[in-house]
Every structure is written in structure tokens, then in C-alpha cells.
């Protein structure tokens, strides 16, 4: 792992105007992504993980605002003009979305969708683009690539489409790949194939990757670092191993406990996180998780906890972090081994 971060996010805020008030989707988030590293972003719906990715890319809905800074390879992404953004999109930062069916153009053959970016950004000839497209499809494990190039998206299965999406994202050899819930719409065995594929290309190409998921387990085995988000804020950031072996934030801990795993004791009640996400237009003043936390003190309700270092590469924003190692907690614990 190199020391120079490829992406530095500092005090990023992304607010979206809605009829019901301003949604503070991302509220003061700072994180780093080193080059050649995979960073996982985990959170439930409404945690702001997708909006954060979009804010980084500059894909914000109308009536929204961003502040803070996002430095990518030394350039501030938030200050780019439309033209400059186009230079970066696809070429330096590529994105893979959740629904491969809806992110591909239904009336354009795979070949054109795959080669469009490289013809524009890399200026390659049509025949070279064709050769590259074949190689890309092979790399992402699409059988019979020659035939697939002539297919329309509807002629392929969901897993195949997601492979094509990944091939498109890789077409211009980006330095950073943002995968936003890339496997949520897929079946388990296909999800497995896609996750293996993402990790493989990320490592082979020495690319950086941001893997966004609501599922802790999806992120666990495939990333070097992970950050857990809750209601627009970072709860916990650190090396994947530390965060999963010793989750310190009460939310991370509770989330791991609430996940049914394949070795859960039958009929044993799951540990529940009571209540629901706070109203995004008026989040709680102190720690955003405090209203649902069993260990919240008065201070938790009034003061937002700072993100503090608790290990070599482990930061937690919690005033009463978990101190017992997970393995020692209780039955019905979901530790996946």
C-alpha cells in the first residue's frame, strides 16, 4: 500500500432540497482512499453512502448543494467545470451501479456501449476498440465474447449484464472504480462471481476501488479498509480486519449482531436495533445513533462525538465504544466463522 492517497475527502457535506425540508444526506464526512486500495462503505438505506459517492462524482440531483473538498490525484473535484468533469468521468473515475438492467442503454448493442468511452477518451480506432472490447469481456468472464458484443442488454442475464457494466467501467482504465451496490440485484451464486471478479480486477490492475454496500459481509472479505456510515455521518473507519474483528462503534456492533448468518442458532432471537433511522431533515443534535443506542449517555444526545483514533488504522466516533471483543459477547453472535 502506498502512502499517497488517491482520493481525499474532507468535511464533505451534501444537502438535498426536498418539499419536506433539506435532507442532510452527507454531513461532514472525511476519509482517504490510498491508491491500489479497496475501501468499503457500509450503511443501511438513508445512511448517505450512495449520495456520498455521487457527490464525489458530481452526480448530484437538482436543488442540492455540496461543500467541503474532494481531492482526486491533486485536483479538487468539487471545483471542476462540466468539461473538466467529462474528462475525468469514465477515464479516471468509473462507476458501476446497482441495477445493470437500467444502467445499460436498452436499444444499443453491447459493442457500442463498451467502445464508446474508449473511442472518445483514448482515441483508439474502431478495429482496435473492437479488439479491446473482446479482451475486456474475456477479462470479466463473459463466455463467447464475440457473440455477446452483438447482443442487446435484454438478451443477457442479470449477472452477464453486470459483467458488461464492469467491462464498460474498466474500458478506459480508470484509476478509481466506484461500485455502488454492484451485487444487490443478483442471486447469491452470481453475487459471489461478481464480487470475486471486482476484487480480482482491482488487484490485477492496481486500481483503487470504493465498494458500497448495505451488507457488511459483502464488504468484509473484499476490501482493505472499511467505513461504516450512519445517517450521513461516519461511525467507524479503519482497516477491514480491525473493524470486523473488533467493532468499536455501538452501531457497527449492533449491526453485526442483527445480521442473521449461516451459523446462527436456530430460533434464537436476533439482537435487534430498536427504532428506526432519524428524520434526515432534522437529525439528532448529538450522536445520530444515540436515540437507538442502549449505551447512550446524556452527553451522547447533546454532543456529536469526534472521530477518534483507537488503533493503528481504526477511528471511531463514539463516546462509549464497545470494549469487549466481539467473540466474547453472546450466543447468536454473528461472526461468520
Amino acid at each position: 500500500m502506498t502512502t499517497q492517497p488517491i482520493l481525499e475527502v474532507r468535511n464533505l457535506r451534501a444537502y438535498i432540497g426536498t418539499p419536506r425540508g433539506t435532507v442532510r444526506a452527507v454531513d461532514d464526512v472525511s476519509l482517504d482512499l490510498d491508491s491500489g486500495q479497496a475501501l468499503g462503505i457500509v450503511g443501511e438505506s438513508g445512511s448517505g453512502k450512495s449520495v456520498m459517492a455521487r457527490a464525489i462524482m458530481g452526480l448530484m440531483p437538482p436543488r442540492s448543494g455540496r461543500s467541503g473538498s474532494v481531492t482526486f490525484q491533486g485536483r479538487d473535484l468539487l471545483a471542476l467545470t462540466k468539461k473538466e468533469k467529462r474528462e475525468i468521468w469514465g477515464k479516471q473515475i468509473a462507476m458501476v451501479f446497482q441495477d445493470p438492467g437500467r444502467s445499460l442503454n436498452p436499444v444499443v448493442r453491447v459493442e457500442r456501449q463498451l467502445t464508446e468511452g474508449m473511442r472518445k477518451h483514448l482515441g483508439v480506432s474502431r478495429s482496435e476498440a473492437h479488439t479491446r472490447a473482446l479482451k475486456l469481456l474475456e477479462e470479466v468472464g463473459v463466455p463467447d465474447p464475440e457473440r455477446r458484443l452483438r447482443n442487446y442488454p435484454h438478451e443477457m442475464s442479470g449477472g452477464m449484464r453486470q459483467r458488461v457494466m464492469i467491462a464498460i467501467a474498466l474500458a478506459c482504465e480508470p484509476d478509481l472504480l466506484i461500485a455502488d451496490e454492484p451485487t444487490t440485484a443478483l442471486d447469491v451464486t452470481i453475487q459471489r462471481q461478481i464480487l470475486d471478479l471486482l476484487r480480482r480486477v482491482q488487484r490485477d490492475r492496481g486500481m483503487s476501488m470504493m465498494l458500497i454496500s448495505h451488507d457488511l459481509a459483502v464488504v468484509a472479505g473484499r476490501t482493505d479498509r472499511v467505513s461504516v456510515m450512519y445517517a450521513g455521518r461516519l461511525a467507524e473507519v479503519g482497516s477491514t480486519r480491525e473493524v470486523f474483528e473488533q467493532p468499536m462503534h455501538r452501531y457497527t456492533h449492533a449491526l453485526l449482531g442483527a445480521t442473521p448468518t449461516i451459523d446462527h442458532v436456530r430460533h434464537a432471537p436476533l439482537r435487534v436495533i430498536g427504532g428506526s433511522l432519524p428524520d434526515p431533515t432534522s437529525p439528532p443534535e448529538g450522536c445520530r445513533f444515540a436515540p437507538r443506542c442502549n449505551h447512550a449517555s446524556d452527553q451522547c444526545h447533546t454532543t456529536p462525538p469526534p472521530l477518534e483514533s483507537v488503533g493503528v488504522d481504526h477511528h471511531v466516533a463514539c463516546l462509549s465504544p464497545v470494549t469487549v471483543p466481539v467473540g466474547a459477547v453472546s450466543g447468536g453472535e454473528s461472526h461468520g466463522r
Binding site: S157, V188, R192, A220, I262, V272, G336
Partner: protein, 345 residues
Amino acid sequence: MAGSGATHLRGDEALLSVQDLVVEYPTDNGTVQAVSKISFDILPGETLGIVGESGCGKSTTGRAVLRLDRITSGRIRFGDEWIEEASEKRMRSLRRDMQMIFQDPVASLNPRRSVADIVVEGLTVAKTPAKERATTSVSVLEQVGLPGERFAGMLPRQLSGGQAQRVAIARALALNPRLLICDEPVSALDVSVQAQILNLIEELKAEFDLTVVFIAHDLGVVRTVSDKVMVMYLGKVCEFGDSIEMYDDPAHPYTRALLDSVPLTDPEKGFAGPPLAGDVPSPLAPPTGCRFRTRCPMAQDRCAEEEPEMREVRPGQYAACHFPLPSVTGRDLPEPAAVGAGADA
């Protein structure tokens, strides 16, 4: 026929017994057999988990039990009535005993009705007096953890996903059913809410003496709630047995592969075993012989020629496979003498 055969049925004590069920849907490109001669049963008070990937026929199976879709052939016994023979009128009253909850909680509620009305919809159809309906409405909402005074007047769009699913459960319970069919009840929900709903289903199951069919694609979720598990693939049953025994010691290669594909919350391992290659074949033209053979790491010539029958591979654990995985705990029963006779059906 692969994955058919009824050796694993447990006879008359079962509350629900499905035998050789076939459900076909006509499409522009021919007939799809969504469910192809499957058999299973559930004892009273049991929870049966049905798992499999999309297109395996698990939801179709659930719908067929309520006869929401036309049954092409096969028999379904509920209590002492044959579902496939019942008249439409009889079906309507039988369905009161068999309630279903669906995946998308908000879409399964009438958007123009209040929560209080929705939960007693079934009673309205049954012409229960208004006074009784009002009391039931309050009590079932209470039972699913939605205090009536706050929620009774709300419309579905004002509810969160978890609350809407609670309303759907309350609606099912209002009719005091014996069988509850849950079709992916938590897949649209967040992890923290999912745990609440799963716990609620477990509590209510005990309180109302329910028998539950729990259809899901998430193996972790199914293991948590089920006594028995049935694994399906492309319209066929692969394996049937006790949930713990099957998870710890799967006999069918597909069950093994499914378990190996579940991501673990373990930063070191990632997955428990090797990945499964390929994609699910088109249900319009399923492979000959065993339908799983195109992706099966242990497939041999025989798998293409002959469809495996369900047979007892280990005590209480049934698999439809010519070459089941050896038990890791040495519980294997001896191989049947006549190879391929399938005479044990």
C-alpha cells in the same frame, strides 16, 4: 424425474402436503414449467424454509398452495381438504386459514385505505360485524407492535418499510390463520429492521400456534427461522431436511455451492468455499437429466441421461442427486442396491 419423488413426505400428520406439483405459465416462447413435479410437506407448528435463486420456483410454490395461480397438475392437501379440487367459493374460505405476506410491503397494501381498515380487510370480506372488526383491528395492531392510536388512521405511504410489513403481518393474523406463507418478507428491508420482523414472526408463530412456510433467497435468514429447509433449483427440489443438519452437512452439490457463496463477515476468509461457475439455464429449455448438471462440479454422464429421484441420503435428509456429497459426520445411509432404479419412490 429429477427432484421429484415423494419419499420425504411424512404422511397424514402433515398440515400441508404437496405432491408432484406442476405449475406452468404460457409465454410467447413456449410454456415455462416454473415448478416441475415437486413434493414436500409441513407438520403442524413447523417452519419450512424454501430457498433457491431467482427462477427456482419458490414463490410459485407458495402461490400455488393458495391457488393464486392455476395448478397444472399434482395434489395439494391442506388439513383434510384437497386444494386443487376445491371450488372457488370453498377456496375463498380456505384462504382464511392460509395467509400470505409478500416481499414489497408497501405495494401489498391498498394505498387509499387506512391502516385500521387494511388489517381487517379479510374480516370485511367475511362479513364480520363492524364492532368486532374494530376490536380486532386494535388488538392485531397492538400485537405486531404498532400502537393503534398512532397508526390506525395512517395511510400506507406514511409508513416505513418495516412498519408496512408489520401491517401486512397484522392483516394476515386478523383472520387467525393456521398457515402463514411468507414470501421474501424481509428482503426489501434494512438489516436492523429485518431482525425486528424476523423476531416478530417467531414470537407470533408461538403465540398463534402458526405453521409457517418461509420463502427466501438469504440462507442466513432461513437458517435462523426454519426447522426444515427445502432447497430448490430451476423448478425442482434438490434437498430437503433439518435446517441445521443440512447447513452443517449438505448432501446436494447445489446446497454446498449456495452455502459457499454466502459472503462471510470475516475479513480473512470472504467465502466458505469455491464459487459456482456459470449461470442458471433458461427455464424454457431446462437441461436434460439433472437440471443442475450444467453448473455442477461433480456432474458425470449419468447426470445428463437420468433425472435423479429424491432419496434418503442420511437419516431425515433427502437429496435428488446421483452422486451426493459424502457426509462429514459419517451419517450416510448405504447406497440403494439397484443403481438408477429410483424404486424408492
